[in-house]
Symmetry: C2
DNA sequence: GCCTGTTGATTGAGCGTTCAAACAACAGGC
DNA sequence: GCCTGTTGTTTGAACGCTCAATCAACAGGC
């Protein structure tokens, strides 16, 4: 494991756990057993570590997020809820102290550099696109003319909003109810598609 | 205007604009033209300023949020979308740099004191209750047995998720699409209620 | 002998907080 | 009307600490 990998690995966890601003370089050093000079040899600044982390999320969405969630799910709409189920597991295992790593960073950084903001946006976009492919695969089960982009964005909306409330109340039931409402929405859409046919 | 009011007023704006951690006591002092001793005479610590701010939001929800949005709206379901419209105005006026003041704080503070967490939760609860009263007022327009609590939480979910994406992409259209999806959900619910009748 | 990479003490700015001192406002005694 | 003691508030320099970042010195492979 190269120093670079060590740092990225540690930073992904610490930024997720404590946020970007509350994670100090000293935190990263003690976690990786490196010295400050080594870190600054690899990353010119703390922000470059953040960029590395966001790139790692961007490049690892398939194997880190989608494949684990979709291992044994074929139905395209169930894939969406399997993805949300993955977040539920994460939330519950951390006693509702962790949230969505991208979403937390997106709200924490109030005036991010363009490069950071673009990476946050790209991470959201890729997530939305993955959901959108599921919606496209669902084909005629959804009403004709469904805006799959807007609907897949809405899945992200529900996920992020549900995570936020679950974390605020320290109760995963808030997330569950958000998912349940989204499921009801999909049920109504499928029903409407069936009636129109 | 007492020093206390000055501080609360300035802190509401600065915490909203820059977040809690990125707002320094020096920022508050220069904004209020007070000296550090005066601030610490009123608030024993920075966190107590935060508590004051959250209490101000809690106590001001009617006049600051609901009354302005509902001034000339009677239809209970349109009230909900008028409330969301209020947020849209806020977002757009700030070029998508501001978000929901409570939501941002909720995600920024990773290990808040119980008192702070309770205040964040209470602010969410009151918001949800206000929406729930609208849903109850809508009565038979929604399907029988609708879980108005879960549905009103879902309105908050959609708002927070939409705000987050709009801010990340610096584009209010993301918020608009989230609201549009929520509107579609309500339309389907009203239709289902009508069919059952 | 050069080059790539590492070491870890050091820097200086910025942070939240403190405190002795100064000040304003008022009350009571005379 | 004037002095005196008290109370509550304001002043702003100073403190201790943490932070991100630096850099001269060093190690090992080729």
């Amino acid at each position: 494991m190269t120093p670079r990998e060590k740092i990225i690995h540690a930073a992904m966890e610490l930024f997720w756990l404590k946020g970007y601003n509350s994670t100090s370089i000293a935190d990263l050093l003690s976690r990786t057993q490196l010295n400050s000079g080594s870190l600054y040899h690899v990353f010119p600044s703390k922000q470059d570590v953040l960029i590395g982390v966001l790139e790692a999320y961007r490049d690892g969405i398939e194997e880190m997020l989608l494949e684990p969630a979709w291992g044994q799910v074929d139905d395209p709409i169930e894939k969406i809820f399997a993805l949300l189920g993955g977040y539920r597991t994460m939330i519950a295992e951390s006693d509702c102290t962790y949230g969505c790593p991208i979403g937390s960073l997106a709200l924490e950084l109030h005036e991010p550099d363009p490069q950071v903001r673009d990476l946050l946006a790209v991470n959201f976009e890729n997530w939305v696109k993955a959901v959108q492919r599921c919606l496209e695969a669902a084909g005629p089960r959804l009403p004709k003319g469904t805006d799959t982009n807007a609907l897949s964005e809405f899945v992200l909306t529900a996920m992020e909003g549900g995570v936020m409330q679950a974390r605020t109340h320290r109760d995963v039931a808030y997330f569950d109810r958000a998912v349940e409402q989204l499921r009801a929405h999909f049920a109504l859409l499928e029903q409407a598609a069936k009636q129109a046919a």
